[in-house]
C-alpha cells in the first residue's frame, strides 16, 4: 500500500508541478542596442523573420533608431486577437503610403498592417506569393502558383498579381515564367526574375518584361539560370542575381541595359542577397558547391555599378564576419550608410542582426527571430525620404 501511496503522491506532484496552462500571447521584447540617434526623417526599420516552413513562426521586429531600442516580435502584441499570428514563412516586406505590407509565402497571403502600429488592416490572398512592389494605386506581387501545364511534370507557370491597394483585391494577373521571384518597376515596365526553382535541373534563365499600361508580358530577356534578385540603379542598368544550380554553376551577378533590354555585362561574384545604396551594390553570399562538398566561403562584397566590378572584397573591416554562421539578409541605412547584415544561423534557431558602420566596424548586434531576412524603412513623412 505504501507503494500505491507513493505513486499517488508522485502523480500529484507531477500534475501539480507542471500542468498544462492556457497559452498566453507572447509579448514583444524591448532590447536597447544602440544610443538614441536622430537620423533625419528616418524613424527606424521593420525586419521580417521568415521562420521555417511549417513552423508558423514568421515574426516581425522593429528597430527604433531614434530611441536605439530593438523591439523583438511585435506582431502578437499588436494583434493579440489574430489566430495563428503572422503566419508561415515571410518572404518580403515593404511600406507604401501609410501601410506596411508583409508577403507571407506559405500562408498564401499578403498581410496589410498600419505602418505605425503594425495593427492588422486586412490581407490579400495570393497563393505561394513571393515579392511585392508598388506603382500608383496598385501593388504588384509575384506568385509561383499560376495555371498547371499539361506537361509530364505538371509544370506550373508563375504570374504577377495586380492588387488594388484600396480594396485589397487582385484585379488582374499577368503570366510570366516559372517560379518568378523578385520584381522591379522602372520606366513604366515591370521586370520579373524567373527562377524555375521547382524544375531543377531545368531552371529558368529569363527576366520577364511586363508593360505596366497594358499589363501584358512583352518580352523575355535571356540572362542566366535560376534568377532571384533585381535592382535598378540610377544609370539605366538593372542588376540581376542568379542563384546558379547549387552544383556546377555558382551564383553570380548580371546587368541589363534598360535602354535596349539586353544583358550588357556580368560580375564574377557570388550573390545570395544584395542591396543597392547609391552606386554601391552591397552583396552577401555563402554558396554551397556540390563539387567541392563545401561552402565556398562567405562573401561580403561591394560592386560599384559604374565601374561594374568588385571594388571591395570585404566590407566588414574588424574581422567580426567570422561570427556570422549564415549571412542571409542585407540592407543599408539610407541616411547614415550603416550596413545591416542578418545571420540565419542554423535556420531553425534564432537568427541575429548585426549593424556595421559604413567603415565596416561593428556597432551593435541583437538576437532576432528565426531566419531574419527582409527590411523596410519607416520615415516620419514619406516626403522626407
Amino acid at each position: 500500500m505504501r507503494i500505491l501511496k507513493l505513486t499517488i503522491i508522485l502523480a500529484t506532484i507531477l500534475s501539480l508541478g507542471a500542468c498544462r496552462e492556457d497559452q498566453v500571447v507572447i509579448l514583444s521584447e524591448k532590447v536597447p542596442v544602440a544610443p538614441p540617434e536622430i537620423q533625419g526623417g528616418l524613424v527606424g526599420f521593420y525586419l521580417l523573420n521568415e521562420g521555417n516552413m511549417g513552423s508558423n513562426k514568421c515574426t516581425l521586429d522593429f528597430m527604433n533608431l531614434q530611441t536605439g531600442v530593438y523591439h523583438r516580435n511585435i506582431y502578437g502584441e499588436a494583434n493579440p486577437d489574430v489566430p495563428k499570428e503572422l503566419g508561415d514563412v515571410g518572404n518580403d516586406i515593404a511600406i507604401y503610403g501609410n501601410r506596411l505590407y508583409a508577403v507571407i509565402n506559405c500562408s498564401n497571403k499578403v498581410e496589410v498592417m498600419d505602418k505605425w502600429t503594425a495593427k492588422r488592416i486586412g490581407q490579400v490572398d495570393i497563393p505561394n506569393c513571393r515579392y511585392i512592389r508598388f506603382d500608383g494605386d496598385y501593388a504588384y506581387v509575384t506568385s509561383y502558383a499560376g495555371p498547371v501545364l499539361l506537361t509530364p511534370n505538371y509544370d506550373q507557370i508563375g504570374y504577377v498579381a495586380k492588387v488594388d491597394t484600396a480594396t485589397l483585391q487582385v484585379v488582374a494577373r499577368c503570366e510570366v515564367g516559372f517560379q518568378p521571384d523578385e520584381l522591379e518597376i522602372v520606366n513604366g515596365r515591370i521586370y520579373v526574375a524567373n527562377s524555375g526553382g521547382y524544375m531543377s535541373p531545368n531552371y529558368e534563365t529569363t527576366v520577364s518584361v511586363i508593360d505596366l499600361e497594358t499589363f501584358q508580358e512583352v518580352k523575355r530577356i535571356e540572362v542566366a539560370v535560376n534568377l532571384h534578385h533585381l535592382s535598378a540603379d540610377s544609370h539605366g542598368l538593372l542588376w540581376v542575381s542568379s542563384r546558379g544550380d547549387y552544383e556546377y554553376t555558382p551564383s553570380s551577378l548580371y546587368c541589363i541595359d534598360l535602354a535596349d533590354e539586353e544583358v550588357c555585362g556580368s560580375v564574377d561574384v557570388s550573390v545570395g542577397n544584395m542591396c543597392l545604396s547609391g552606386d554601391s551594390l552591397y552583396i552577401i553570399a555563402d554558396d554551397y558547391s556540390y563539387l567541392q562538398n563545401d561552402w565556398r566561403g562567405a562573401v561580403y562584397s561591394i560592386v560599384d555599378v559604374v565601374e561594374q566590378q568588385v571594388v571591395c572584397n570585404n566590407f566588414i573591416k574588424d574581422g567580426t564576419e567570422r561570427d556570422i554562421k549564415m549571412p542571409y539578409g542585407i540592407s543599408v541605412n539610407p541616411v547614415n550608410g550603416d550596413i545591416y547584415v542578418t545571420n540565419a544561423t542554423s535556420f531553425v534557431d534564432p537568427g541575429r542582426v548585426i549593424c556595421y558602420s559604413k567603415q565596416g566596424i561593428k556597432k551593435w548586434e541583437v538576437r532576432a527571430g528565426d531566419i531574419p531576412a527582409h527590411f523596410a524603412y519607416l520615415w516620419k513623412d514619406e516626403k522626407t525620404k
Binding site: I3, L4, M53, P83, E85, D287
Partner: protein, 664 residues
C-alpha cells in the same frame, strides 16, 4: 479474461516455441505482454510502446498519422525493429512508422536498450542502439482442437471501421499455421482547438476547426506456418500491407487543410529455422527474407510544388548464426562456470528506385559479422560482442567498421535472485539512409555514419508473495549516459530555405535516469489489480556548435528538440472474475510528457507546454461452451486535453472506440 486464462496456462510452452533458443539475454528487456498487452490491444504499436521507460514518440496526430519512436533521445534511426525475429527495414529513410503496425495480431513486445544481450541471434540484432521485438501470436491448441477462429470488429471516433479475422489450424502434431487479415477505414476527421489568452487571462482568440485529410484505408494479410523438427523448428511468414492515406500537414495561419496523399504497399516473406545438436551444445539458425516496399507520394496542391513520386524498395536478407557451449558445469560442480561462444554472419542487399539525385537506382550491399561470447560463473553473467560491418554503396565510399559491446549482470545475494545489478557499454553506428545520401535537393553522398556510445548501469529488485495482498512487486532503476556523434542533421544550403543538405554536424550528450515499478495485487479470489508505472528523466544536450553559446538563446548546451526533461506513464488493470465463465477488466492508462522546446535554443518562443492524457477502457468477457465473447468500450484522452506533440500538428481530444470480438 477467459481467453487470457487459456493463453496464460500455455505460456511456458509458448516461450520455448517462440524464442526457440535456450540462450537467454544477460540483461532483461522491458516487456509488454499478458494483461497489459490485452489492455492496449486496440492501439497502434507506437501508442503501446509509449508505456516503456525511455521511449519518446513523435506523433503527427490522427489514425493514419506518422508516428516515429526514439529511445533515450538517440533518434529514431537508431532503433532496430524486429517483426517475428527479422528486422523491418527502411533503407530509404531509416524510420519504421510504428503507427502502421497493428497490435491486433501481436502477442508480445520487448524493448532492449543497447541490444538483446543474447549470443544466439543474427548479426543484425547486434547492429542498432536499441532493439524492439514484435512477436505475433503463435498458433496454440487445446488437446482436442484442430482450429481456432477469432473475429474482431472495432468502430468509433474518426469514422473508424476496422474488422479483423484470424484462423489457426493444426495440420499435424508438428505443423501448424495461422492466417490473419485486417481491414481499416477511417475518415480521420476530428475537431481540434487552439486558443490564446492575454496576460490578464482574457481570451484573445479561440478557434475550433476540423482536422481534414487524415483519412486512411488499409488492408493487412499475414500467413504463418510453423513446424517442429527433432531438436529444432522452422517457420515461414508472409506479410502484405496496402494502404492509402491523406497527410494532414501542419496547421499554420491561413492554411487549415492539406491535400497530400500517400500510398504504401509493403510485402515481405521470411523464414527462420534452427536446430540443435550434441544435446544442445551446438545450435544453428538460418534466416532469409525478401521485402518489397512501394511508396507513392502525391502533392496535388497547386499553391505548393507539385510532386508525384513513386519509390520501390527491395531488400534481400540472408543470415546464419551458430553458438557452441565450450564448457558448462553450472548444473554440476560449478567450478569452471559456463562458456558459450557464438558467431553470426548476415548479408543484406537494398535497392531503391525513384526520383533521386543523379541516379535512377541506388543500391547497397551490407555484410555483417558478429562474434560474441558469454561467460557465467558464480552469480555473474557477462557477454562481450564485436561486430564488423562492411557496407558498399554503389556511389559512395565504402564503410568498414568494427564496434564492440560488453554486458555484465549479477545477482549479488547468494541463494536469492530478487536483486539484480547490471551494466553495459556499447558503441554502434547507423548508416546514412538513401534519402540522406541521394535525395534530390537534400542528399549528400559524402555523409559518414552516425555513431552512438552508450554507458548504462541498472538495478532491479523483484519479489513474489504467495498469500499477501501484494503478490508481486518489481522495482527497476537505470542510469545512462549516451553520446551521439557525427549526428546527421539537415542544414541550409546557401541562401534559400528551400534547399537543404544533410551534414555530419551534430554532437549530443544524453544523461538519463529511469524508474520503473510493477505490482500485482490479489484482493480476493475474484478481484485483482495489476498496476505499474515509470518515470524518465533525460538531459539531452546539444553540443554541436560551440560558437552558438549565447547564454540566453544559444543552442550550445540546450536541451534538444522535443525531448522533455521529465516524462512518465502509468497503467493499471483491475480484474473482476464475476463467475467462472465471466469477467471484467477496467483499464486505466496515463501518459505524461513534460515541458520541452522545439529547437535546441531554449527560449520562450520555442517553448512547448507539457501534455498528458488519461485513457480508460472497460472490457467484458464471457465464455459460452467453446465460444469466447468479449466487448470493450474505450475512452481515450478522457479530459479532452488539446495539445500538440509536434508544433502545429494538433492531436485529437476525447475520443471513443467500441470493440467486439468472438473466438472459438
Amino acid at each position: 479474461m477467459c481467453a487470457q486464462t487459456r493463453r496464460d496456462s500455455t505460456r511456458v510452452i509458448n516461450e520455448v516455441e517462440v524464442t526457440g533458443s535456450r540462450a537467454e539475454a544477460v540483461v532483461e528487456g522491458q516487456t509488454l505482454s499478458g494483461k497489459q498487452m490485452e489492455a492496449l490491444r486496440n492501439h497502434s504499436v507506437a501508442d503501446a510502446i509509449r508505456y516503456f521507460a525511455g521511449v519518446q514518440i513523435k506523433d503527427y496526430g490522427g489514425v493514419g498519422g506518422l508516428k516515429t519512436v526514439n529511445i533515450r533521445s538517440m533518434g529514431s534511426n537508431h532503433l532496430g525493429v524486429f517483426y517475428d525475429g527479422i528486422q523491418l527495414g527502411n533503407a530509404q529513410n531509416g524510420v519504421v512508422d510504428l503507427g502502421k503496425y497493428s497490435m491486433d495480431n501481436l502477442e508480445e513486445i520487448t524493448l532492449y536498450n543497447g541490444q538483446k544481450s543474447s549470443i544466439f541471434q543474427p548479426a543484425k540484432d547486434f547492429g542498432a542502439s536499441g532493439t524492439l521485438y514484435l512477436r505475433s501470436r503463435r498458433p496454440l491448441f487445446m488437446e482436442d482442437e484442430r482450429d481456432n477462429v477469432k473475429f474482431t470488429a472495432r468502430g468509433g471516433s474518426f469514422g473508424l471501421k476496422n474488422i479483423s479475422g484470424l484462423w489457426e489450424h493444426k495440420w499435424s502434431k508438428k505443423v501448424t499455421s495461422s492466417l490473419s487479415a485486417e481491414f481499416t477505414d477511417a475518415t480521420g476527421k476530428y475537431d481540434f482547438r487552439y486558443k490564446r489568452v492575454n496576460q490578464k487571462g482574457e481570451v484573445m482568440w479561440d478557434t475550433t476547426a476540423t482536422r481534414n485529410n487524415g483519412d486512411i484505408q488499409a488492408e493487412r494479410v499475414e500467413a504463418y506456418v510453423q513446424g517442429n523438427i527433432d531438436e529444432g523448428l522452422w517457420n515461414v511468414k508472409a506479410y502484405f500491407y496496402n494502404s492509402e492515406r491523406g497527410i494532414p500537414g501542419a496547421i499554420v495561419n491561413n492554411v487549415w487543410k492539406h491535400s497530400q496523399r500517400q500510398w504504401d504497399r509493403n510485402f515481405f516473406v521470411q523464414s527462420h529455422s534452427q536446430k540443435a545438436w550434441m544435446k544442445g551444445r551446438l545450435e544453428s539458425q538460418f534466416n532469409i527474407k525478401y521485402a518489397w516496399d512501394k511508396m507513392r507520394y502525391l502533392n496535388p496542391d497547386t499553391t505548393l510544388r507539385y510532386v508525384d513520386n513513386t519509390f520501390n524498395q527491395h531488400e534481400v536478407y540472408v543470415s546464419s548464426a551458430t553458438h557452441f557451449v565450450v564448457f558448462d558445469d553450472l548444473e554440476t560442480c560449478r567450478r569452471k562456470g559456463k562458456f558459450d561462444v557464438g558467431v553470426s554472419a548476415d548479408y543484406q542487399w537494398n535497392g531503391l528506385d525513384g526520383v533521386l539525385q543523379g541516379a535512377s537506382f541506388v543500391s547497397r550491399h551490407t555484410m555483417l559479422l558478429a562474434g560474441a561470447a558469454t561467460y557465467e560463473i558464480w552469480r555473474m553473467k557477462m557477454l562481450a560482442s564485436v561486430m564488423g560491418s562492411f557496407v558498399r554503396d554503389h556511389m559512395t565510399d565504402k564503410t568498414d567498421e568494427c564496434t564492440p559491446s560488453v554486458f555484465l549482470s549479477m545477482t549479488p545475494i547468494k541463494g536469492n535472485k530478487d536483486l539484480e545489478l547490471w551494466a553495459f557499454y556499447k558503441r554502434i553506428f547507423r548508416m546514412p539512409t538513401f534519402n540522406d545520401l541521394y535525395y534530390t535537393d537534400m542528399g549528400n553522398k559524402y555523409l559518414k555514419p552516425e555513431y552512438t556510445t552508450q554507458y548504462d548501469i541498472g538495478l532491479s529488485w523483484k519479489h513474489d508473495w504467495n498469500h499477501a495482498m501484494l503478490r508481486h512487486l518489481e522495482l527497476r532503476t537505470e542510469g545512462y549516459f549516451n553520446q551521439v556523434d557525427n549526428k546527421i542533421v539537415a542544414v541550409p544550403k546557401g541562401n534559400s530555405q528551400y534547399r537543404w543538405m544533410m551534414m555530419n554536424l551534430g554532437y549530443v550528450e544524453i544523461l538519463g535516469v529511469e524508474l520503473q515499478m510493477k505490482t500485482r495485487w490479489q484482493f480476493s479470489r475474484d478481484w485483482s489489480l495489476d498496476f505499474g508505472g515509470n518515470y524518465t528523466y533525460q538531459k539531452a544536450q546539444d553540443f554541436s556548435d560551440p560558437e552558438d553559446n549565447d547564454p540566453e538563446a544559444g543552442t550550445w548546451g540546450g536541451q534538444i528538440a522535443y525531448i522533455p526533461w521529465h516524462s512518465a506513464s502509468a497503467m493499471g488493470t483491475l480484474s473482476w472474475a464475476i463467475k467462472g465463465n465471466m469477467g471484467m477488466n477496467l483499464n486505466y492508462s496515463f501518459i505524461y510528457t513534460g515541458e520541452r522546446y522545439h529547437t535546441s535554443s531554449n527560449i520562450l518562443a520555442n517553448y512547448e507546454q507539457p501534455w498528458y492524457t488519461h485513457d480508460l477502457s472497460l472490457r467484458y468477457a464471457v465464455s459460452l461452451k467453446k465460444v469466447r465473447l468479449s466487448a470493450t468500450l474505450e475512452v481515450n484522452n478522457v479530459f479532452d486535453q488539446q495539445y500538440d506533440v509536434i508544433l502545429n500538428y494538433p492531436m485529437p481530444g476525447r475520443n471513443y472506440k467500441g470493440i467486439v470480438s468472438c473466438e472459438f
